[in-house]
């Protein structure tokens, strides 16, 4: 029951203190989970930062880790918003090789992506694109034949649509799972 599950988008409101990131990351490291994307920045509240991170893992383990995240003293709220209606965005900078011949073609190509050219050099160009991971990947694939020199992504930031202020973590607690655990659902520790 490791690793190869779905993507989970988790947002956490945390106190802006040294070591918070290590504590949060530690809970995933302990399970051998890879954090595939992470974005941290100030929130609307003073002294608090909001983190968005994407991890891969099975539902049970990610739920468990999320509850344990909530236990960290410096974590104010945390929610797995993967099943919510969310807006999520990522920004990427792509540095691509250009020649006088390809410049026009590239300019045309990036247009439908509403990407911007943020730097133009003699032999290269930096393109800024914002959107979902899929959109960024699509543009990347199109640009690949021209020769990509560098790719830099911010990691996903996400927000639940509507009025919610980032689900309160207690919601995680109050869910009832109804039936008693069936044998097939048991999470074995294994023998040692």
């Amino acid at each position: 029951m490791n690793g190869n599950g779905q993507h989970h988008t988790i947002i956490a409101l945390v106190q802006d203190k040294p070591g918070v990131l290590t504590r949060v990351a530690g809970l995933f490291r302990r399970r051998g989970f890879n954090i595939s994307s992470l974005a941290v920045g100030n929130s609307e509240q003073k002294g608090l930062s909001r983190m968005t991170f994407v991890v891969d893992g099975d539902q049970y383990t990610v739920d468990q880790a999320t509850r344990q995240l909530d236990k960290l003293i410096e974590v104010v709220k945390v929610a797995n918003i993967s099943d919510e209606e969310i807006v999520s965005r990522e920004l990427a900078l792509i540095k691509v090789q250009v020649t006088p011949d390809t410049r026009g073609e590239i300019l045309e190509l990036v247009q439908p992506f509403r990407a911007e050219i943020v730097d133009v050099g003699a032999k290269s160009m930096v393109i800024e694109v914002t959107g979902s991971g899929d959109k960024i990947r699509a543009l990347y694939d199109l640009l690949e034949p021209f020769g990509i020199l560098e790719l830099m992504r911010t990691g996903r930031v996400a927000m639940v649509r509507g009025l919610s202020q980032g689900k309160v973590s207690d919601d995680l607690v109050l869910d009832y799972h109804g039936d008693h655990l069936k044998a097939s659902e048991a999470y074995e520790v294994g023998s040692y």
């Binding site: 409101l13 945390v14 106190q15 040294p18 070591g19 290590t22 504590r23 530690g26 302990r30 608090l48 739920d63 468990q64 509850r67 344990q68 909530d70 236990k71 960290l72 003293i73 410096e74 974590v75 104010v76 709220k77 995680l172 607690v173 109050l174 009832y176 799972h177 109804g178 039936d179 008693h180 655990l181 044998a183 097939s184 659902e185 048991a186 999470y187 074995e188 520790v189 294994g190 023998s191 040692y192």
Partner: protein, 564 residues
């Protein structure tokens, strides 16, 4: 008046009603010790190894319910605390550990005795803080104690650089309040959860209560007893829940799991409802999860929401502080008798008498425990190490008072028996404290007998000396083709002479007939005493449910064939 950082630490500890600190000094923490000598209200107990400081603070906390405090210097001092801190984390023990750190300008430069102890203890503390300013000391200490004792308790480590302890003088300002935005320990339970739980309890025909450490932590023993008696529900106590319910109560139905009583495990197997109070379904309790309590719904009451559904899915999780939750429950739980169910459990008890001690002339460790139980009338505080002796202590002592079995449960750290017993006695000087030691575990921490002597800490040590790492030996017997590799101690010291070297009484017991007299002599002798019980080797702990298996695979003690 302006104080040094070290003096502010001392003043803050007094504000938190600390009366004893277990520790051992070194360069980085020396300014603290410099101040400590001027605070006689803060009794300092000098240990021989920092692991003992942490484990003594743990024992003190378990025995008293107060926060245990230990201290060490940077580097090796701090790393020596680690096992003790990890144990406190696993068993939810309120502890504050204060370590000295190299001066701020030296941090990160691989200075002499610099280790990143906040980094090292990140996953084994409830919280830790590197205190970088003198003005942060008092708030950090207030926070540390609050976090350590509230909610699900746990250890908090404060790492304070030497120049924060020594240099600058600042006014001592004790904060009125603490501001921990993300930390709200639960109190009463939510009405919906509560009513769902009550419904299940009132409907159940074959309910059992699984009482865990949470009952002791929240001092909910009176409420537990009331609940059990009102609805006539049998109470099974987990290893750490032992002593939360009187062992000799007619509703007490033993300990479950790997070395629990067969009737307890069999009752869980048959139960239609588990009322799990402050326990976490450790794998030593459940065995194979898919076969655990196959007929039962689960009401799981805990103060830590991350315990719900972790190992066993709760039909109804009830989040709250146990004592308050039980008080909410009591008026609405119906009076019941459950006659058939209780009779059924009595039948199990009769058919699977897990606590019988076989008749033999050999000196059995179980017999020693039983004698000790009888002589002390179940009223001593028993502190154990880890291994076979620990299980016999859990099985054969009739605990009468809350917090009277102190044992390293979650971490299972050998060596706990010596220092934790010292801490317990320091916290509860009026109680008789017996350390039930393995010959293996005793040798891990016996250097701290000197601490007992120096401070006249009157602990009686009973070594159940089987000359082996008995529990591992047992696993080799059952699961590794009796390949007793690296589990036999052929060169154990003479523990009686050793006691003599420490300047205390040592008694050797080799025969059954000497047991009672030795125990009485130890209790009549003032100060620490070591009793070396040379018990039968190769004795196995029964029952046993092998790791990862279920009650179906339980092994009970073979009954010797009767010869007529």
């Amino acid at each position: 008046m302006e104080l040094t950082g070290a003096e502010i630490v001392c003043e803050s500890l007094l504000k938190e009603d600390v009366d004893v600190i277990f520790g051992l000094p070194g360069g980085a923490v020396l300014p603290f010790y410099g101040a400590l000598s001027g605070y006689p209200q803060l009794r300092h107990i000098l240990v021989r190894h920092e692991q003992a400081a942490a484990m003594a603070a743990d024992g003190y906390a378990r025995a008293t319910g107060k926060v245990g405090v230990c201290t060490a210097t940077s580097g090796p001092g701090a790393t020596n605390l680690v096992t003790g801190i990890a144990g406190a984390m696993m068993d939810s023990i309120p502890m504050v550990a204060i370590t000295g750190q190299v001066p701020r300008p030296a941090i990160g430069r691989d200075a002499f005795q610099e280790t990143d102890i906040t980094g090292i203890t990140l996953p084994i503390t409830k919280h830790n803080i590197l205190v970088m300013e003198v003005d942060d000391i008092a708030p950090a200490i207030k926070e540390a104690f609050y976090i350590a004792r509230s909610g699900r308790p746990g250890p908090v480590l404060l790492d304070i650089p030497k120049d924060v302890l020594a240099g600058e003088r600042r006014p001592f300002v004790w904060p009125d309040a603490i501001d921990l935005q993300g930390y709200y320990p639960p109190g009463e339970a939510d009405d919906i959860q509560l009513s769902q739980a009550i419904e299940l309890i009132n409907q159940a025909e074959r309910p059992v209560i699984l009482a865990g450490h949470g009952v002791l932590i929240s001092h909910a023993y009176a409420e537990l007893r009331e609940l059990a008696e009102k609805a006539q529900i049998p109470v099974i106590t987990t290893l750490l829940g032992i002593s939360s319910f009187p062992t000799d109560h007619f509703l007490h139905a033993g300990m479950p799991g790997m070395h629990g009583m067969a009737y307890a495990s069999l009752a869980i197997d048959k139960a239609d409802l588990l009322i799990s109070l402050g326990m976490r379904f450790d794998d030593r309790v459940t065995g194979r999860l898919s076969d655990f309590a196959p007929n039962a719904k689960v009401v799981h009451v805990d103060v830590d929401p991350s315990e719900f559904h972790k190992n066993v899915k709760a039909t109804v999780p009830v989040l709250g502080e146990l004592k308050q939750v039980l008080r909410q429950m009591l008026p609405v739980v119906e009076r019941k008798t459950h006659v058939e169910w209780l009779q059924y459990i009595d039948t199990l008890r009769a058919e699977h008498p897990s606590l019988n001690i076989r008749q033999t002339n050999e000196l059995l460790p179980q017999f020693v425990m039983k004698q000790l139980s009888d002589i002390t009338e179940g009223e001593a505080i028993i502190v154990t190490g880890v291994g076979q002796h620990q299980m016999w202590a859990a099985q054969h002592y009739a605990y009468k008072e809350p917090n009277s079995l102190l044992t390293s449960g979650g971490l299972g750290a050998m060596g706990f028996e010596v220092p934790a017993a010292l801490g317990a006695k320091v916290g509860k000087p009026e109680k008789t404290v017996w350390s039930i030691a393995g010959d293996g575990g005793f040798q891990m921490t016996m250097c701290d007998l000197a601490t007992a002597v120096e401070n006249n800490i009157d602990v009686k040590f009973a070594i159940l000396n089987n000359g082996t790492l008995g529990m591992v030996h047992q696993w080799q017997e059952f699961f590794y083709d009796k390949d007793f590799f690296a589990t036999v101690y052929s060169g154990n010291p003479d523990f009686v002479k050793l006691a003599d070297a420490f300047g205390i009484t040592g008694i050797r017991v080799t025969d059954k007939s000497q047991v009672e007299a030795a125990i009485r002599q130890a209790m009549e002798t003032p100060g620490p005493v070591v009793v070396d019980f040379i018990v039968k080797q190769d004795e196995q702990v029964y029952p046993m449910i092998p790791a990862g298996e279920s009650v179906k695979e339980m092994m009970e003690e073979p009954v010797p064939e009767r010869i007529f």
